[in-house]
C-alpha cells in the first residue's frame, strides 16, 4: 500500500515555502521553509500547537493566501489555476454558513455554482445530510442549530460535490466522541472508495493516527515542519486498530513531536 502511494503522481508539491504576514506591529513569519509532497490518494494530517501555521498552509494550498516565497503546485498547476478548476472541497475551522440560506440551501450552494442539475442537487443534499446525521434539519436556518450541528452542516457542504482534494481544518472539533468516531469511519470509507487526496488539520493525536497515511507535525514561531510520520496501516481501518501497539507507538511519536514544539517556545 505504502509503495503504491509513494509511486502515485504528486498532487500537492511545496518547496521552501515561506509566508510572512505584514501586521501593523511588524512582520509575522507564519510559515518557514515548508517543503512537502502529497501524492494522489494520500490522507495527510497536520498536527501542531495552535498558531503554528496549519491553517495558513492549508490556505496556501487552496490559493487563499499567497506564499511570500517558495514553490507550490497543485496537480502541476498553480494553486490559483487548480482553484479555478474546482479541485478543492474546503471545511473551515469555523462553520461559516450563510445566514440567509437554510442548511439545505447552504449545502446546495456549491452545487449550484458548479452547475449540477436540479435533481442531482436534491439527491446529493439528501445524501450528505444523512451522512452527517442532519436529516430533517435541511429547512432550518444556521442560527437555529447548535454549534456542533453547524459544524456538521459545513462538513456536509464540502462533501456534497466530489472535489478531488479535500482540505479540512479541524472539522470535528465541536463534535462528541461518538459522532466523531462515526464521522471518522464515514470519512475513511469515502476516502477508500473514491481515492480522494485529503489534507486534514486536527488536534486529536488518535484521530490523526487513525485516519492518516502520513502525519505532519508542525512547530510554531515560525511555523515549520518538524516531523513527518508514515503510517503502516492500509486503506481498511477497523476501529480496533486503535488498540494495536503500532498505533500506540505512532501516537507516542506524534506526542513527542508536539511536546517538543511546545518546549521550543
Amino acid at each position: 500500500m505504502k509503495d503504491t502511494l509513494s509511486l502515485a503522481e504528486p498532487v500537492i508539491e511545496a518547496e521552501g515555502l515561506n509566508l510572512i504576514f505584514q501586521a501593523a506591529d511588524g512582520p509575522v513569519q507564519a510559515l518557514r521553509d515548508v517543503s512537502l509532497t502529497i501524492r494522489k490518494g494520500e490522507f495527510v494530517s497536520f498536527i501542531g500547537p495552535s498558531g503554528c501555521g496549519k491553517t495558513t498552509f492549508l490556505r496556501c494550498i487552496a490559493a487563499l493566501e499567497k506564499p511570500s516565497s517558495g514553490r507550490l503546485t497543485v496537480n502541476g498547476l498553480s494553486p490559483e489555476a487548480a482553484r479555478q478548476s474546482r479541485a478543492y472541497g474546503y471545511v473551515f475551522q469555523a462553520a461559516g454558513l450563510y445566514p440567509w440560506r437554510t442548511i439545505a440551501g447552504n449545502i446546495r450552494l456549491p452545487l449550484e455554482i458548479m452547475g449540477f442539475s436540479r435533481a442531482d442537487q436534491a439527491e446529493r443534499v439528501q445524501r450528505v445530510l444523512e451522512l452527517v446525521d442532519l436529516q430533517g434539519f435541511g429547512k432550518k436556518f444556521p442560527w437555529q442549530l447548535s454549534g456542533g450541528m453547524q459544524q456538521r452542516a459545513s462538513i456536509a457542504r464540502a462533501l456534497a460535490f466530489d472535489a478531488d482534494i479535500l482540505l479540512m481544518d479541524e472539522p470535528f472539533g465541536a463534535l462528541d466522541e461518538i459522532v466523531r468516531d462515526r464521522l471518522n469511519e464515514e470519512l475513511l470509507k469515502l476516502w477508500a472508495a473514491t481515492g480522494k487526496t485529503v489534507g486534514f488539520v486536527t488536534h486529536s493525536i488518535p484521530e490523526a493516527v487513525y485516519l492518516s497515511t502520513r502525519i505532519v507535525v508542525m512547530s510554531p514561531r515560525p511555523g515549520r515542519i518538524t516531523d513527518v510520520i508514515e503510517s503502516p496501516f492500509g486503506r481498511e481501518r477497523p476501529l480496533e486498530i486503535r488498540d494495536s501497539p503500532e498505533f500506540l507507538a505512532i501516537a507516542n511519536r506524534v506526542r513527542e513531536g508536539l511536546r517538543a514544539g511546545h518546549i521550543d517556545e
Binding site: P99, E112, I113
Partner: protein
C-alpha cells in the same frame, strides 16, 4: 432605562419643542412662562407622552404598534391645532390642521390628479430607474478595479450636482411634463443608492468570500449568491433614503416649470395665492405617499433580510 428618567426626558424634549414653537411667534421665554396658553400646550404634550410611553411598553402586537405612532401623530396635530387657535396665528402663515383636513376632503379630484402626475409618473419611475442604474453602476464598479478608482470619484462629483441647478436644465432637455421630473429624480437618488450599494458589496465577511473562492465560483456567481445577499441590508437602506428623496425631487422639479397639474405646481401656485390650506393638503398627500412607499420598502426588507441581526430577535 430607569423609570423616572422617561418623564424627565420627554418633558425636556417637549418643552424644548414648545419653546421653539413659541419663539417662532416672538414670545420671549419670560412672557411665555407667565402665559396660560403655553401651559395648556405643555399639559397636552405631557399627558400624551405619558399615555404613549405606557402603551409602548406593553405594545407587542402590530395593531397597537400602529396605535402608538398614530397617537403620537395625533398629539402633534392637536398641539398644532391648539397653538394656531390660542395664539390666533394667521392662516396665511400657518393654517390649522382642521382647515387642511377640510381642504383635503374638498379637493379630492385635484389632489388625486396631482398625485398621479407627480408621484406615480414622476417620482416612482425616476426612483425605479435611478436605483437600478445605481445598483448596476455599483456592480460595474465592483467588477473592475479600474472603474472603481476612476468612476467612483467622478460619480460622486456628477451626482453631487445640486438639484436646484440640475432641475432647470433637465426641464429644458426633457420638456415640461413628468419626464423631466423623473430625470431629476434619477439624478437625485443615484448617489445615495450608489454609496449604499458599493458599501454593501463590501459587506460579505472574509471567510464567506474565501469559501466562494475554494469552490472556484466566478465573479458573477459570487456576486449573485454571496455579495448581493450580504449587501441587501445596505441596499434597502439606499432604497429607503432614495424613496424619500424621490418625492422631494419630483415635487421640487415642478417648481422649475410644469404643466398645470402636479403637486409641486400646486404647492408653488397656491403658496403664491396665499391658500396655504391647499399647500398643506398637498404636503399631506406627499407625506402619506412617502410613508406608504417607505412602509412598502420596509416590509420587503423584512422579507428579504430576515436573517440580518437587525431584523432577527425583534
Amino acid at each position: 432605562m430607569r423609570a423616572w428618567l422617561k418623564p424627565v426626558i420627554y418633558g425636556a424634549g417637549g418643552s424644548l419643542l414648545l419653546l421653539g414653537l413659541a419663539a417662532l411667534f416672538r414670545e420671549g421665554p419670560r412672557n411665555l412662562l407667565a402665559d396660560g396658553r403655553f401651559w395648556l400646550l405643555f399639559a397636552i404634550w405631557g399627558a400624551a407622552w405619558a399615555v404613549n410611553a405606557k402603551i409602548a411598553d406593553c405594545a407587542l402586537r402590530s395593531a397597537t404598534r400602529g396605535g402608538v405612532a398614530l397617537l403620537f401623530g395625533a398629539t402633534l396635530l392637536l398641539l398644532w391645532e391648539v397653538t394656531v387657535r390660542v395664539y390666533q396665528i394667521s392662516p396665511v402663515i400657518l393654517p390649522a390642521p382642521s382647515a387642511v383636513a377640510a381642504q383635503f376632503v374638498a379637493s379630492g379630484p385635484i389632489l388625486w390628479a396631482d398625485f398621479v402626475q407627480t408621484i406615480l409618473k414622476g417620482a416612482l419611475s425616476g426612483w425605479v430607474i435611478g436605483c437600478s442604474v445605481a445598483l448596476l453602476t455599483a456592480v460595474l464598479i465592483d467588477r473592475s478595479p479600474f472603474l472603481q478608482r476612476g468612476l467612483l470619484p467622478v460619480g460622486n462629483f456628477v451626482a453631487a450636482l445640486p438639484i436646484v441647478g440640475i432641475a432647470p436644465i433637465l426641464v429644458m432637455w426633457f420638456g415640461f411634463d413628468w419626464h423631466s421630473k423623473a430625470a431629476v429624480v434619477v439624478v437625485m437618488v443615484f448617489f445615495p443608492m450608489l454609496v449604499n450599494c458599493v458599501e454593501g458589496l463590501k459587506a460579505a465577511d472574509p471567510m464567506q468570500r474565501d469559501l466562494m473562492q475554494t469552490w472556484g465560483a466566478g465573479w458573477g456567481q459570487s456576486l449573485l449568491k454571496l455579495r448581493l445577499p450580504a449587501a441587501m441590508p445596505f441596499i434597502f437602506n439606499g432604497l429607503k433614503i432614495a424613496g424619500t428623496l424621490a418625492l422631494i425631487g419630483a415635487i421640487v422639479a415642478e417648481f422649475f416649470g410644469s404643466p398645470v397639474v402636479g403637486m409641486g405646481f400646486r404647492i408653488s401656485a397656491e403658496a403664491g395665492r396665499m391658500r396655504l390650506d391647499m399647500v398643506w393638503a398637498e404636503i399631506l398627500v406627499a407625506a402619506l405617499a412617502g410613508t406608504a412607499l417607505y412602509g412598502a420598502i420596509a416590509l420587503a426588507e423584512k422579507r428579504v433580510t430576515f436573517w440580518h441581526p437587525s431584523q432577527r430577535g425583534r
